[in-house]
Symmetry: C2
Subunit: 330 residues, 2 copies
Amino acid sequence: MNIYDIAAEAGVSISTVSRVMNHKGNVNPEMKKRIEEVLKKYDYKPSAIARGMVSKTMKTVAVLVTDIRIPQFASQVYAVEQEFSREGYNVMVCNTGENIENCDKYINTLSQKQVDGIVTIGSVFSRLAEYPEITSKMRWSPVVMANGEIDLPNFYSVLLNEQEGLRAGIRLLYGKGKKKICLLCDLETNLGARMKESFLKILKDLKIDRKEEQVISCKNGMEEGAWAVRLLMENGCSFDGLIFGREITAIGGMKELRKAGLRIPEDVSVIGWGDSISALTCQPELTTVDMKAEQMGILCVRILHGLLQNQEPQAPVIIEPEIILRGSTG
Amino acid sequence: MNIYDIAAEAGVSISTVSRVMNHKGNVNPEMKKRIEEVLKKYDYKPSAIARGMVSKTMKTVAVLVTDIRIPQFASQVYAVEQEFSREGYNVMVCNTGENIENCDKYINTLSQKQVDGIVTIGSVFSRLAEYPEITSKMRWSPVVMANGEIDLPNFYSVLLNEQEGLRAGIRLLYGKGKKKICLLCDLETNLGARMKESFLKILKDLKIDRKEEQVISCKNGMEEGAWAVRLLMENGCSFDGLIFGREITAIGGMKELRKAGLRIPEDVSVIGWGDSISALTCQPELTTVDMKAEQMGILCVRILHGLLQNQEPQAPVIIEPEIILRGSTG
DNA sequence: TTGAAAGCGCTACCAC
DNA sequence: GTGGTAGCGCTTTCAA
């Protein structure tokens, strides 16, 4: 069943059927009605592929994410999908893994399929800047980066004001009398490196002058969080406030603290970084800097969808995080 | 840049270029080399849309899932995406929500885009059987259901042996001397209803004869788990073993038990149903019946990919769950 | 207001 | 072994 069949049955030309289906141009009301009846009779849906061939769009966008199993990412992908779905787009999901070079494979097929746009989720994708052979292949469509930034004409950003989040966290701990604060995050990531920088700057602003290790690098994961805390204790570092770069590492860290007989929040207060249910399942519940995953996803869609409608590109959007108080900080 | 440009630059016809690109038919080695050089020079990628127009496939499949933010579902979608990606397919994700009728909207666009196949994730989709007006629109492609089953020619299934999982859970509790066991799951779902049935059957098999409420219906969610436990206690029901239909409800339930001063596992042993990190973040760690989400995703892909290659359709595949022992059962 | 026809970029068939 | 060409199902222009 194709447009010719419909046209034949309605006794008109395919042009007119096309006009009726797309609500374009003027069509005699009577004829229109006749065509619509045939359309309904067969519940006819025109081929998006043939349409895409002419119009150069399949109404499909792609999301690049390292791993959709990570709750924050899942939330963002969810928001992106739901928003785009409302605009009539479908969303392809690509789990690239941490290794940025894997993007290449996806970019190849996405460009062949001419997806209308790309959303990247997670700070790793900022590293694409180091792979011009990949970004050069990404010029056919706009790219909106959640938590990432690349200085190229078709790349746009939605960023989180991490520094303010960190500042709020430090203020909170400080207000509770916790003045020996450490930051534990993955310094090998762009986000982690930025956090360290902000952290040291804020401490300086606050005229806090700690000699002991203040920043420990640890990968994301529960085990790694526990490991980092152990390291801190083995080094004889004294601390009474910990800020983690991820919820899951914070939870691993809390387990280790408990194992060492330290009470949370009495002996050590803990702050995580995220926005997922995990913060509620752990004991005590975890105070977090809310990364506003869903809001970020929604904003990415607003920008990308705007671009697809030829709206003016926007300056990088900055989202303000919010600190959510729970048991781990008393 | 299209196939004509490549052909012109190489001084050959588009037929030959097509043959080289698709490694089909015989081409003079010299000419082949010349064409490949031009192809490489421009890093030329043929349009998947034009190709799809002829070949009737865009090498794309879709996943229908209620909500990708639920960890088990995220794991399954992840597995499906990774496996299909290895086979050269892209995966569209559709978050349909609990309301099955929302599928209609997605099915319409998916059929227009002629996706090669569909994977559904979660037992809700069994309910599609009640909506022939939707399933009738799903005939253009094979559908493989994870945890679901519909008796239609193009629908295939990968199922979990829930009864065995439940039996293992009950045996475990029984072995620990816990003989007053309750099941807490959402009876309004297909899965929940089946679990209740299995549960009662197993108790009967084991000649366990409990008079008190043994099955409580509670929706999925932490609050709901807590609510169900409260209900159980308010009813004065005595129990020493709880089996929940979801991890998250189990965690909510454990919180409530703790609040009531009950020790886990000494006073009450708890078993959840799932396969996610939450079981490790809670306190104590949760014993679960592993739903084998990733394995299930992988099997769905094997079946669907086989069907796309015109391999023989398979009988429903049944996966055996596995019980993972942790602190909540001692 | 309607229809004829070109053309989107490719694959596959049929001649040569 | 190679090239010409029909045709996939649509949208869009141009004439009528």
